[in-house]
Symmetry: C2
Subunit: 200 residues, 2 copies
DNA sequence: CGAGTCGTTGAACGGAATCAATCGTCGTGG
DNA sequence: CCACGACGATTGATTCCGTTCAACGACTCG
């Protein structure tokens, strides 16, 4: 989720800059993978399309995050990236990055750690998706967030996007929130702060 | 999915061996992460538990695969690993692996590629889970498999485990298979070979 | 030859998606 | 400044479809 890679990547290599308007495409599935990216400002959403044309969101990278790192070791991108809002994107050449990682073992290790972190995050998401019940799913989501920085959870994104992240219709998510609160599992102060009450 | 890491890891570092009976635990969530592993024989399933005590499978590593690589960069394991069958496991010390990766940039790069591959696999799984309709989900699954080695797909695992991988009840999966065949999207020769007919 | 499991199909249930409507807020432009 | 549109948050009613329970044949394994 959080990427610290962007913080040192910029020191070592030159980046070109791309400005994207809302809805602009950065790359498409199948394009030759030449760059990896850091969001300086804005939001970039990665998605694929099903046969019926439905969109499937893979990830949304926000300011400060790098993305498409996995493309370092692939010939082409395996998804599409479009700007969700007006965005400023730093583009780092794969070749330069690879050269840097090769010549600089400590940075290489940091990069591995970044990849490992992403794997953990993805596994966690996958774990959530295997929970069928919306109630259990949302509860587990909060529990996972809570044991990182106990008790109080602050959600900075909109409920709607959280619902989407959890793979639930937003209506279902709202209802589930209300149910969790009614049954005393959570408490909601204002719209952004959360407290977990029970872990049973 | 497929890990080639195991093939060269054994050349460079010594591994201790653990023999597990069916149901034996290799490590538990929260244990200090000291080793990463390769399945020499058998199957090891990684899982977590929800609050209600339900099991959530994260991954099943089979013979030849490495697993828990992400733990290289974590203090403790974030899931449980238990043997699904009698298994023989090679255990590699984190410290030694890290030292090897540090001193040997090419191997480090291979390892990064392995992690990147896992990220791609996980993303694909996540993508599939966001498709609500069982019909589309299964179809998309076959399409993803087919554009790796076009047309014919050979499934080596049981339908049941595929169903589980897709997050579907096996009954639903069987029905969906039949429906896909009836509508001409796929063809089934015997139980293991598949042919995709339409991509519309 | 049972015991166990996979593959398969039928019937019924439940719960999440979907459609729909309301309210509040925020930003935008006339 | 206010009207307007856009969107998030919320709740109600209905539909749909995947799960679950159940039963059966085929096959393997001990």
């Amino acid at each position: 989720m959080v990427s610290h890679f962007s913080q040192y990547i910029s020191i070592l290599t030159d980046a070109s800059v791309r400005i994207l308007a809302t809805g602009d495409s950065l790359f498409c599935q199948g394009d030759a993978a030449q760059y990896i990216y850091v969001v300086e400002k804005g939001k970039v959403r990665m998605l694929r399309y099903t046969i019926e044309g439905h969109q499937v969101n893979l990830h949304t990278a926000v300011a400060g995050e790098s993305f498409a790192e996995a493309a370092l070791f692939a010939d082409h991108y395996h998804c599409n990236a479009i700007a969700d809002t007006e965005s400023r994107i730093l583009c780092y050449s794969k070749k330069e990055i690879l050269a840097m990682l090769r010549s600089n073992p400590e940075r290489g290790e940091e990069f591995m750690a970044l990849l490992a972190q992403q794997i953990r995050t993805l596994r966690t998401h996958l774990e959530l998706r295997t929970i069928r019940s919306a109630f259990e799913r949302v509860l587990q989501y909060f529990l996972l967030l809570s044991d990182l920085g106990n008790n109080d959870i602050i959600i900075d994104s909109s409920w709607k996007s959280v619902a989407h992240e959890l793979g639930l219709a937003h209506e279902t998510f709202y209802r589930t929130l209300a149910k969790l609160e009614k049954q005393g599992f959570i408490e909601r102060k204002e719209k952004t702060i959360k407290v977990i009450k029970l872990t049973l």
